[in-house]
C-alpha cells in the first residue's frame, strides 16, 4: 500500500513516514497541499494521505476540498493530523470529505488502530 504524508514540518514528515513505513507502506511526502496535488497529478495515487492542518501555500482543508473535487481520487483515504489547540475545527475538514483524524502527539499504536478500523493495514497485525 502507498501513503502520502503531507506536512510542512520536516520532523513530522519523518515521524509519520517512519510509522507508516514500519507498517509496510511505500511512503512519499509533500510539504504542503499544493505539492501533494502535484504528486497525485503525476498519477501516483496513494491508499492513504495523512494531512497536517496548518501549512503554507495550501492548507489541509483546502487540500481535502481539492481532492474531493476530483472523482479519480475518491479511493484515497484522508486522515487529518491536528494539534490539540485546533482540534475543535476538525469537523470542518471531516465535513469537507476527510475520513479520519488523529490528534498530536500520537503514538504508532494510535495510528495502527485507526488504520485497522479503516482496513488500511498492509500487514496482518494482531491487536
Amino acid at each position: 500500500m502507498r501513503a502520502l504524508v503531507i506536512d510542512d514540518s520536516r520532523a513530522m514528515r519523518r515521524i509519520v513516514t517512519g510509522i507508516l513505513a514500519g507498517f509496510g507502506y511505500e511512503v512519499r511526502d509533500a510539504e504542503h497541499g499544493r505539492a501533494a496535488l502535484d504528486v497525485l497529478g503525476e498519477g501516483w495515487l496513494p491508499d492513504l494521505a495523512t494531512i497536517d492542518w496548518n501549512m503554507p501555500v495550501m492548507d489541509g482543508l483546502q487540500f481535502v476540498s481539492a481532492v474531493r473535487a476530483n472523482p479519480a481520487w475518491r479511493s484515497m483515504t484522508m486522515m487529518m493530523v491536528t494539534s490539540e489547540s485546533e482540534h475543535t475545527q476538525i469537523v470542518r475538514a471531516l465535513a469537507a470529505g476527510a475520513h479520519e483524524y488523529v490528534i498530536k502527539p500520537f503514538t504508532a499504536d494510535a495510528i495502527r488502530d485507526k488504520l485497522a478500523l479503516l482496513g488500511l493495514l498492509p500487514q496482518e497485525v494482531s491487536l
Partner: protein, 179 residues
C-alpha cells in the same frame, strides 16, 4: 484486546461508537426542553410532532470532538430562527433584528443544547464555537439521532450527527453477522 483479530468479527460499534449507542432521543429531547424553558421562556414547549420544514431554512450547530465526533445541529425555517432570537432577547430585542443578532442568538441555543449533549456523552471531548448557516451533511446515516419537534406550531429539527463516514464494510447487515 488479547484475542487475535481476524477482521471478520469486528463491528464498527466495538471500537468506534455511533451516536445511537451513546444517547437516546428521549435524553436529547429532555435537554432541548430544558434549554427552551430557560432560554426562550417558561411556557415555551417543544412538542414531539414532526412538521415539514420549508425551503428557506437555517441551521446552527456546535461540533463535539472526542470519543464520538460530530455535530449537534438545530434546523428551522429562517423566520422561526428569528422568532426564537426575539424570544431569547425579550425586552432587549431591537425592532428590526439583523442577521448578526439572529446568528448570535440562534447559535447560542445550539451551544446550550450541544454543551449538554456533550456532557451526556463519554469524554473527554471538546466543543467548538457555535456556527450558523447550512448544516454539515450527514456522513453516516447510522450515526444520527434526529428529533422532529414543533415550537409554536413551527418545525424544529435537532440532529446529533457523526462527522466520520461509515467504516469500510460496516453496512447494517453486518450488524447481524455472527463471529
Amino acid at each position: 484486546m488479547t484475542t487475535t483479530d481476524t477482521g471478520a468479527r469486528r463491528r464498527a460499534s466495538d471500537v468506534r461508537p455511533v451516536i445511537t449507542d451513546l444517547i437516546d432521543p428521549a435524553t436529547v429531547e429532555a435537554i432541548a426542553a430544558e434549554a427552551w424553558v430557560a432560554l426562550i421562556g417558561e411556557d415555551e414547549v417543544l412538542v414531539p410532532l414532526p412538521g415539514e420544514l420549508p425551503v428557506d431554512i437555517v441551521s446552527s450547530w456546535v461540533d463535539v470532538v472526542g470519543p464520538w465526533t460530530g455535530s449537534v445541529v438545530l434546523t428551522t425555517a429562517r423566520s422561526t430562527a428569528e422568532e426564537l432570537s426575539r424570544a431569547l432577547l425579550r425586552d432587549t430585542a431591537p425592532a428590526v433584528l439583523d442577521d448578526e443578532d439572529v446568528a448570535d442568538a440562534f447559535g447560542e441555543i445550539a451551544n446550550v443544547v450541544g454543551g449538554n449533549v456533550k456532557a451526556a456523552l463519554p469524554g473527554p471531548s471538546a466543543l467548538s464555537l457555535p456556527q450558523v448557516g447550512n448544516a454539515p451533511l450527514v456522513r453516516n446515516p447510522a450515526d444520527v439521532c434526529r428529533l422532529d419537534l414543533l415550537w409554536r406550531g413551527e418545525p424544529v429539527a435537532i440532529s446529533v450527527q457523526g462527522a466520520l463516514p461509515p467504516l469500510p464494510g460496516s453496512t447494517p447487515t453486518r450488524e447481524n453477522e455472527v463471529s
